[in-house]
Amino acid sequence: MVTRTVVFVEDARGQAVDQILYCESKELSVADVGMPYGLREVLEKHDAGEIEIVLFVVDLALPGFHAEKFFDVGSVDDKSGFDAGWIVLEKILRPEDQQCRYGNIPAVILTHLELTSKAKARLNAMNERNQALGRPLVRYLQKWGTSSFLPTWAKEFEAIIDELIARLDNSHG
């Protein structure tokens, strides 16, 4: 059986430890990629059938993540890397190209950044496209609060994972 893999596009995986551990506790393999090269490798493995990517978890702020080096995303004006996650989503995982192989894999944004009006517009635009193409919508989870309090976003994330696993089991079953 091909390993079910959750891909964390996250430059600092230490900030998503709980989520990674939760995925692993659900017998999902986790690939954390902080650089475009690694993402490309993972995607190639998926294409080759070595693994089965079941979910993308994308952080938005990825300093040093220059997707244009390894993906055909055109020229990108994002030196700081604060928009790198958006580029990954819009150009690689949810491009306008209907033939994209990863369009049907669910994706979640998990970030510290606040959902500003600008970001919201960006997300909505992307999701409208997803809806039109029948792709799963991209969820936005904002990490908020402090570790000593119960983070509701973490609950939401776990719910997403549970739902995903249930769906996968049903489809396989």
Binding site: M35, G38, K69, S148, L150, T152
Partner: protein, 993 residues
């Protein structure tokens, strides 16, 4: 003098205001001037009813410039008091100006004076002069430039005046004393008119009273119109100061005007004082005219048809204002976290502090007459007005702190000039007596006001008592105020009334008189009315002050966290007038379990509170009682009984709560929740305790809904404060670790960066990104700093910081280690032979007892790359350093390098003690993280973090692989250099653009 006057004239409104002020002032002493009615000429603007403003503005400056050397100025008698008066009242005038200007245009009016002053040229001058000092004794009657309340009452007043003039004027014709006005000495006393009145009143009080009675009963039926005087205005001014809303002022005035009782009496300076007592149920006019002695009084009752003053709901207003605050700050307009707390509190302070500011400005008046305490003078103006109203010697406002072990009441007082020593004795006696009373358990069930009276060795003989059911007022049978004791003051009297907020005792208003018999039963009622007005206002101010102080305290760097928590409790106890408050916080990351972190309470409650706990565990969410307990925040003996009946096991689950509640009778819990997500779990919880029967804390009074807006506001601020404290703690912790790191702490640059970090935390934003890069000297500092900036920006949710962080991080990646390494840091160089490059570095670390196995394939020796040589060097060294540090002997360290299809892979592996958990494995690249296996080894947890950061800069990747074997772990770290990125420069397409 001329220059001064010219300057004054340029501020024409001030003159107008002064005229108005004194017109009103003179009008308030109307009976006095009525004596001279026959001798006065009247000037009337006529049917056109030109506005005063218009009149002034036509002729103002031009006239004065032309006439400033004319004889009326130079020969005007005693011009100095005018100037002196102006100077003294300047602040007051400035304060009042805006108010008057608003209404000036709508006012009609005329000022009357001796005919000789109203020649054409002099008419305007008459407006400008200080009527009290120069036109003293003139009649001022007819439409005046009035405040809205006076205009509203005007029709009735004119008729009163007309009738008074007609009837009383005739009666008193024989008492005209022209000499009084002309006499210089009398004028210096300031109130020459008062003497006239006094003379009349002594002999002819009944005539006055009968006349008034006749007038009111025959003429004024059905009108809202009454004689006004200073007391009347004072009440309205208090309303104005409290609310600054015309409608409320009008209402207050209406209430004051259409009041139940009006009291005339003489004060020490022989001024006529009128008191207005609003009636709540029936709007009867009762006019008492006191003549200083009991047997000379006239009582008149009137029935107005209207219902003025129906809307004086200060409580409602407070609730509404508080609710609006919560609404407006519900994170739509403003963000979250610490920086907002200050802003919010400042906003609160500014919004409500205006009153205070104005009070202080107004306090400049009458300085010649009163001695004012230098400290605690925020409410001085308020006290002064109350003092004027009662013609008292001293007014003190006490604010009671229920949770204090000792009574720490704030004393705000305003008193007339007296012997300072005696004054101090008096205040000390009061202070001590209240403190003593508060420690007496038996007395707790009675009002603190009564206790204050009681324990002051019966110098107070009249006060209000609290019955067990709330606000029942009992007035002792003896209506007179006596003072049997000679010390510290002889023959004095005092009254004290409680100030209540939502039925709880907030403070005490105490009024001390000059002599015995000064206060009467109606004085107490009036005092209580005033206390009812000012109580909620003062409470509001204190609440905001407390919340502001809380925010300041939370954000204070130097304050220990424990003290901050205690401060939160202290403020909470003050805000909710509780006898004790306890703050519960969840320890660590566990949810639904709370432990006591701080409390603020009286000493006798400490043993009980120490047992208290707070837990949501084990309670069904759907239980109605629990819901009531959570949402209603109201917990009393009854609810516990119900709880036990319905849920027998409940007692065992939360035993401390029950027992505490039984002992305390009242327990109010405010769960603090994330305001962004109302459905979230509690962040922390605040418990408030009310001791049964103490200081007016009656069960019937503790209605939870009344406190709801306050609780919401408190919850909001606490949620923000907790967030701010957490942010601050993170920053503090990071900074501390930053400084204590052994390698980095030596450089000044770090300190500067750290200082910037601290400054940022304190919101002293200043440096531009360029400056930041200059400030930061070392690469690692910059990295760390950049990360902290980013973290800070994420935590603080401050756009500006985030923007700064974005640009700073971009710059940070560019400017690295300028001072030590110069341009070599950012300079890209071609490494011709990567294999040799790596081998040399690895060879440098090959020291006994470590065994190195270096396996660099031939391909690598033939590979050349372009990169920032320094950073690659640094990365590789950090990995080697890491491996030599943590390897377990005699296991060798393996270094491998090979060229793959698309990338060059460099790996360093060693065998060492295992990490404790998967979580530790995931965190190894984090800044400052040190695994369980590293406890015995010195280090700062930075090596792998540097590797990771450098990899981000170089756009290469770092992989880690940790395998367990035979109780030890093999750590393999792999640097993957994509060939596309690291290709030699001449073959690359986009690098270095």
């Amino acid at each position: 003098m001329a220059i001064l006057l010219e300057h004054l004239l340029q501020e024409r409104n001030r003159w107008a205001i002064q005229v108005i002020q004194h017109t009103v002032s003179l009008l308030s002493n109307m009976p006095l001037r009525l004596m001279n009615w026959q001798k006065m000429a009247m000037w009337d603007p006529g049917p056109e009813q030109e506005s005063f403003l218009h009149h002034i503005s036509d002729t103002d400056l031009a006239f004065y410039k032309k006439r400033r050397n004319t004889p009326w100025i130079t020969t005007a008698r005693n011009i100095h008091p005018l100037v002196d008066y102006l100077r003294r009242n300047w602040t007051w005038l400035a304060c009042e100006r805006q108010f008057f200007r608003r209404w000036l245009g709508e006012a009609n009016g005329a000022v009357c004076g001796p005919e000789r002053y109203f020649t054409d040229d002099m008419r305007v001058a008459a407006y400008r002069l200080n009527l009290k000092d120069i036109f003293e004794g003139f009649l001022v009657v007819g439409p005046v430039f009035a405040r809205p309340l006076e205009m509203e009452l005007w029709p009735g007043l004119t008729r009163v005046v007309d009738r008074l003039v007609e009837k009383v004027g005739e009666e008193f014709e024989g008492h005209q004393v022209e000499n009084t006005f002309d006499d210089h000495e009398m004028r210096l006393r300031g109130r020459g008119t008062g003497w006239v009145y006094q003379e009349c009143l002594k002999d002819d009080a009944e005539i006055v009273g009968n006349t008034l009675k006749a007038i009111f009963e025959t003429e004024i039926e059905g009108e809202i119109g009454l004689v006004r005087n200073r007391a009347y205005n004072t009440l309205a001014q208090i309303a104005y100061l409290l609310h600054k809303e015309p409608s409320l002022i009008t209402n207050a005035a209406g209430k004051a005007g259409a009041c139940e009782e009006l009291l005339f009496r003489m004060d020490r300076n022989n001024n006529l004082v009128l008191r207005a007592l609003p009636g709540n149920d029936s709007w009867r006019f009762s006019l008492f005219v006191y003549t200083g002695l009991q047997d000379k009084r006239v009582r008149v009752r009137l029935k107005p048809p209207c219902d003025p003053g129906a809307e004086l709901g200060i409580e409602k207003k407070l609730i509404k204002a508080t609710g609006e605050l919560v609404q407006s700050f519900a994170y739509r307009q403003h963000g979250f976290m610490g920086q907002k707390v200050k802003r919010l509190s400042r906003w609160l302070h500014n919004t409500f502090g205006v009153i205070s500011a104005e009070l202080q400005k107004n306090g400049e008046g009458n300085t010649g007459k009163y001695r004012e305490p230098p400290e605690k003078d925020e409410y001085r103006e308020l006290a002064r007005r109350i003092l004027e109203l009662f013609c008292a010697d001293m007014v003190s406002i006490f604010i009671y702190h229920h949770a204090e072990t000792k009574l720490k009441a704030k004393i705000v007082s305003f008193q007339q000039e007296l012997d300072e020593k005696k004054r101090a004795d008096w205040q000390n006696a009061e202070y001590l007596s209240m403190a003593k009373a508060s420690n007496d358990r038996q007395l707790r069930q009675r009002s603190i006001a009564y206790r204050a009276a009681d324990k002051k060795e019966e110098q107070f003989c009249q006060a209000l008592l609290f019955e067990g059911t709330g606000r029942a007022v009992a007035v002792p049978a003896d209506q007179l105020i006596l003072n049997p004791y000679p010390e510290p003051f002889e023959r004095r009297s005092a009254i004290a009334v409680p100030m209540l907020v939502h039925g709880l005792l907030f403070g005490v208003l105490e009024i001390d008189g000059f002599c015995q018999y000064q206060f009467r039963r109606d004085s107490v009622q009036l005092a209580q009315e005033i206390a009812d007005i000012i109580g909620p206002f003062l409470y509001q101010r204190e609440v905001l002050r407390g919340l502001s102080a809380l925010s300041e305290s939370v954000l204070n760097d130097e304050k220990p966290t424990e003290k901050k928590y205690t401060g939160i409790c202290e403020v909470a106890a003050q805000v909710f007038l509780a006898n004790a408050s306890v703050l519960f916080m969840p320890p660590g990351q566990r949810v639904n379990e709370f432990s006591l972190v701080a409390s603020y309470n009286r000493d006798d409650l400490k043993p009980l509170i120490a047992k208290e706990g707070y837990s949501l565990r084990g309670l069904e969410d759907d239980s109605p009682v629990i819901q009531a307990f959570q949402s209603g925040r109201y917990f009393n003996r009854l609810s516990i009984r119900e709880l036990e009946e319905k849920y027998p096991g409940w007692r065992d689950r939360v035993p401390t709560r029950k027992s505490t509640a039984e002992l305390f009778s009242h327990l109010t819990v405010i769960p603090i929740r994330d305001p962004r997500n109302p459905n979230s779990e509690d962040l922390c919880a605040l418990s408030l305790y009310y001791v049964h029967g103490a200081e007016g804390n009656m069960p019937a009074n503790l209605l939870s809904e009344r406190w709801e807006p306050t609780a919401q506001l408190m919850s909001l601020i606490l949620a923000m404060s907790v967030g701010a404290m957490h942010t601050r703690r993170i920053v503090e912790e990071s900074t501390r670790r930053f400084f204590t790191h052994e390698v980095m702490a030596v450089t000044n640059g770090i300190q500067r960066v750290g200082q910037k970090l601290v400054d940022l935390a304190e919101k002293k934003l200043g440096p531009t990104p360029d400056q930041l890069t200059i400030i930061a000297d070392y690469q690692d500092d910059l990295q760390v700093f950049g990360q902290h900036l980013r973290k800070l920006s994420l935590l603080m949710r401050e756009d500006r910081i985030e923007k700064l962080a974005r640009s700073a991080s971009a710059s940070i990646y560019e400017v690295i280690l300028r001072e030590d390494y110069g341009d070599s840091v950012s300079k890209e160089e071609i490494i011709e032979n990567l294999g040799t490059f790596l081998f040399r570095i690895a060879d440098g670390y090959w020291k006994p007892p470590h065994e190195f196995r270096i396996n660099i394939s031939e391909d690598v020796h033939h590979t050349s790359i372009t990169t920032r040589k320094f950073l690659l060097d640094r990365m590789f060294r950090e990995l080697l350093e890491n491996a030599t540090k943590y390897t377990a002997e005699p296991h060798p360290i393996e270094v491998q390098a090979k060229v793959g299809e698309r990338a060059i892979e460099i790996s360093v592996s060693n065998i060492g003690e295992c990490l404790e958990s998967r979580e530790e494995k995931l965190r190894i690249f984090e800044w400052g993280f040190r695994g369980h296996n590293a406890r015995a080894i010195t280090g700062g947890g930075l090596g792998l973090h540097i590797v990771r950061t450098a990899s981000q800069i170089l756009e290469c990747e770092v992989h880690d692989n940790i395998e367990t074997a035979n109780g030890l772990c093999r750590f393999t770290f792999q640097i993957i250099l994509p060939r596309e990125v690291f290709a030699p420069k001449d073959t690359r397409k986009t690098k270095g653009a």
